[in-house]
């Protein structure tokens, strides 16, 4: 990926995650209402605690993306989180937006993966 486009994508996704984290922290239960009833049953604690934890995670992921630190790991966590969101919220009007965010996050993850990780994969393949 071109260096400029990588940074534009990284900062754009970082702002999205940070802002969503702040909005969830403002009204945790409103955001929790998006969760399908079958999925809410799997929550280990209360819906409020789960949403506050989600807000904290979104803010941490967003901050790591923003400062370009552990970007690969932050993008991996964010991509996993988006898959969980897609599964537990069902198909709705905003599903396509989450798919777009997931695609962007996967692109960022692919581009920021550590070189040693790829080298290790290749060495295993030909061992």
């Amino acid at each position: 990926m071109n260096k400029s486009s990588y940074h534009i994508l990284r900062v754009g996704l970082a702002v999205t995650f940070l802002w969503v984290g702040i909005l969830i922290a403002k009204n945790p239960l409103d955001w929790g209402s998006f969760i399908e009833p079958w999925a809410a049953g799997f929550l280990p604690g209360s819906l409020h605690s789960a949403m506050v934890a989600t807000a904290v995670m979104d803010i941490v992921v967003g901050f790591l993306l923003l400062i370009d630190f552990w970007t690969w790991l932050a993008a991996l966590v964010a991509a996993f989180h988006l898959v969980v969101v897609l599964v537990v919220t069902g198909i709705g009007n905003v599903t396509v937006r989450d798919i777009g965010l997931l695609a962007g996050m996967l692109a960022l993850m692919a581009d920021s993966r550590p070189p040693s990780f790829l080298a290790r994969l290749k060495s295993r393949k030909y061992a």
Binding site: K3, H7, V11, A14, V15, L18, W19, I22, K26, L66
Partner: protein
Amino acid sequence: MVPMTAFALLFTLSAIGVAETVYLIRKRLASERPVCPIGGGCEIVLESKYNKTFGIHNDVLGLLFYLAASVVTACLVIGIEPMTLWETVFPIMIAFGSLMSLYLTYLQWRVIKFWCFWCLMSASTIWLMAIIIIISASI
């Protein structure tokens, strides 16, 4: 009362500021030259004797400013007390940052006589934040 759209824009701008200043700090610590997309005076300005204020690098001061702006905006949106303090401090912070940016832009224009893309981008970011606050206060 600042509307939510204004908060979203203010937060986005301060986050862009954080990303930009972190980039400049990283480049400086690694003794690398930052990419200078427009013009070629970035390193002349960034390595000039005016790159510090009160002994602290301007990029570090910028980062602290943008981090504080992000945190204050987040507190205002979430509703973390003391709200009156945040509502008072925020416009003062932005006004101070705007004046500081005005001074640093003057230095580039009249004293150093070279333009730095990143410094101008940071100044524009702060001035845009000031414009948003003025517009939202007048609505």
